[in-house]
């Protein structure tokens, strides 16, 4: 028995040595390789797929760029695997730039960036540059999804018959607070300025599941949370999580004869398969942003910076230019479409500014005084939910 195992292990080791020698032999004419770490599956119809297709866009549009990626990078899906370990592997495979797409990778990517000072790193959604924790080779970037969420809230409020909008939230942090807040502001604006109704009659409930997607036994089940919304009088659910449970549940409920609509998140194609209930989707379009980063990494200089990329207001759905967009769904009523067009135009021209005082937090304290417009940092670091929203706003 021992001999047999020893034999197997010896064969294993010898093969490995041969492999590694053979590996070093072929390393001619390299293209410019960038690595992409995705928190969810590359085909999740949500957050990670948007990044994956952004990477594919770079391969198509930037000559010489080649992507390597690994998906499901989270400790539940890949027990025992760490971010620095994956980065080591990508660097061995020739990556000169590594992009980490999730908030959850913040500490791991910082550690990896310190270990590889000559490699360029991007942490999407992070703020290490703002907090001063970032090493020199680490860049933060994100899309201004606040606008997409405002549009989502806007159409939700114009669609709801019951006046009750549910927000299926992931976990609670700065990012998710400001996104849920933006959706609420969009909804309140539509309710008050377009429908001329009293904001007090609008219910906006946020329920958090605990992570960006369902982890059975660890998070709350998003399917159940969505069902619970529809069963208790909410007829529009805005999703803030990486996956499309809200659309699936809305479809079921519509089949049962209920009025139910959903607004998924992240990925331009998230409405597909549920178009009868889908009002539209605010999405990230990573192609242009990623191309810029890869080009910068190729030619230099690479410096630590924090960027927040906005929509192309000329056409928020132009895939060559915009960083965030809103793709209308089939369930969107023609009248609402018209209003949305006006709303987008006014957002673009800053005629409508929703993060503008007077605004109060959920607990009644002042966020913005009369006429005060929030700075980027104030929006980014919004510490609490806004007045008028229901649900937990922070971890005490």
């Amino acid at each position: 028995m021992k001999k047999a195992i020893a034999l197997v292990l010896t064969v294993f080791l010898v093969t490995a040595l041969v492999q590694s020698v053979a590996g070093t032999a072929r390393a001619a004419a390299k293209p410019y390789t960038f690595g992409l770490l995705l928190v969810g599956p590359y085909n999740d119809r949500g957050y990670s797929q948007a990044h994956y297709e952004g990477g594919q866009y770079v391969e198509k549009t930037v000559p010489g760029a080649r992507m390597i990626y690994i998906d499901k990078v989270n400790p539940a899906d890949r027990p025992g695997i760490t971010i620095p370990q994956l980065v080591d592997d990508m660097v061995e495979k020739g990556a000169r730039l590594v992009i980490a797409n999730s908030d959850d990778m913040k500490d791991g990517i910082r550690e990896a960036a310190r270990q590889h000072p000559d490699i360029h790193f991007v942490h999407v959604s992070g703020d290490d540059v703002l907090t001063g924790k970032a090493p020199k080779n680490l860049v933060n970037t994100f899309g201004r999804m606040e606008y997409g969420k405002m549009m989502a809230g806007f159409v939700a409020a114009l669609t709801t018959r019951t006046g009750k909008i549910g927000y299926l939230g992931p976990l609670i942090n700065e990012e998710t607070r400001r996104l849920a807040g933006s959706a609420y502001l969009g909804a309140r604006y539509a309710w008050e300025k377009v429908l001329k109704k009293n904001p007090k009659d609008l219910t906006f409930q946020v329920t958090w599941i605990g992570f960006w997607f369902n982890i059975p036994g660890v998070t709350a089940d998003p399917t159940q949370v969505a069902q619970n919304f529809y069963n208790t009088g909410f007829d529009v659910v805005i999703s803030g999580i990486d996956t499309t449970e809200a659309v699936t549940v809305a479809k079921q409920k519509a089949k049962e004869g209920k009025q139910a609509w959903a607004i998924p998140y992240d990925y331009v194609g998230a409405c597909e398969g549920g178009s009868s209930v889908c009002l539209g989707v605010p999405y990230f379009n990573w192609g242009p942003g990623y191309s810029g980063l890869v080009k910068k990494s190729m030619t230099g200089p690479w410096k630590s910076e924090w960027t927040w990329l906005g929509p192309d207001w000329q056409d928020i759905n132009n895939h060559r230019t915009t960083n965030v967009g809103f793709m209308e769904g089939d369930a969107l009523a023609p009248g609402v479409k018209k209003e949305l067009k006006t709303f987008i135009r006014d957002l673009g021209s800053k005629k409508v500014q929703l993060f503008k005082g007077p605004l109060r937090y959920q607990d009644g304290t002042v966020f913005l005084r009369e006429g005060e417009v929030a700075t980027d940092k104030q929006v980014w670091y919004m510490p609490k939910l806004l007045e008028g929203m229901q649900g937990a706003g922070s971890a005490k």
């Binding site: 028995m1 021992k2 027990p79 592997d89 061995e92 500490d107 609670i172 605990g210």
Partner: protein, 343 residues
Amino acid sequence: MALETALTLTVVLGFTTLVLLLAGAPPLESYRQIVKGSLGSWGKVTHVIKVWIPLTLAACGLLYTFRIGLWNIGVEGQVMVGAVLTTYVLRTGSDGQHGQYLLAAALLAGMAGGALWAVMAGYLKTRGGVHEIFAGLGLNFVAQGLVLWLIFGPWKQPGIASMSGTETFAEHLWMPYLEGLRISPAALGMTLTSVVLTAYMLRATRFGLYLKAIGSNEKAAFLFGLRPQATMILAMVCAGGFAGLAGSFQVAGVYHRLIPAISSGYGYLALLVVMLSGFSVWVSPLVAFFFACLNVGSIQLPMVLQLDSSLSGVIQGTLVMAALAMHAMRARSRKGGGPDAGG
């Protein structure tokens, strides 16, 4: 014996190849990628060792309980509780003082935590008459619940409610590792010591002999004046201690924080390691190394071949079945049963 092992490996290889073919993957290339991805460079080997450390520690612990005939399924929970107590100690040290003492205390706390959790299963067995498999499984769920509650409740990051994990510790509270090698020499040293110590304890001490005697025939051992119940508790303490240390290293050496999947399933995996190695002290670390290679190398399947990496789970599953079949065959041939074979 060699025939059984060869048979097992053939079955495993054959079945895995079949699965790969069904998945539309080139089997040879897949195996090549796994080998290359785990042993292809020093960097990769260090990552394999990082997985090997907790796996081997948990396996060491299990050798004691298997020797006395206990199925310590609760090892998974023992790893988790070890991680929890280590986190508890490290959380007190944010001021940057006495990093190394705190780390030492954290490791001891981890061992104590694992031991405590194991003793609970032990007492449920000896006093309550609850079979250790059920006690252990139950306690695993409790431990996982405890971890989740701590992360989402008392130990959550300021202003954040996320299942991602607790705040990362300051760097002076990480297990120090060699620059460029990414291995903690202390963790590696302690693991190697644990293997030698376990071999010594099981083979050369009276305690080891008692374990074996009781494992072979509890009643006869009792008639000879041994104390089966107390010895079982002691075996559980050893098992839990090593498992707890594995959890400590996961926190202090690998993740530098507490996360929901902190045990990485190494407890359950260690059960397979020990079974597959025929309950041998010297073979277990080798088999653990093999599993560690599989864990690290299989990441190449999605990265290079665009295959779903859960295929490595299938390979492990096949190994489990083969190991169990081998175990059953061996038990039948000895008409005995029970995990009492020597190594």
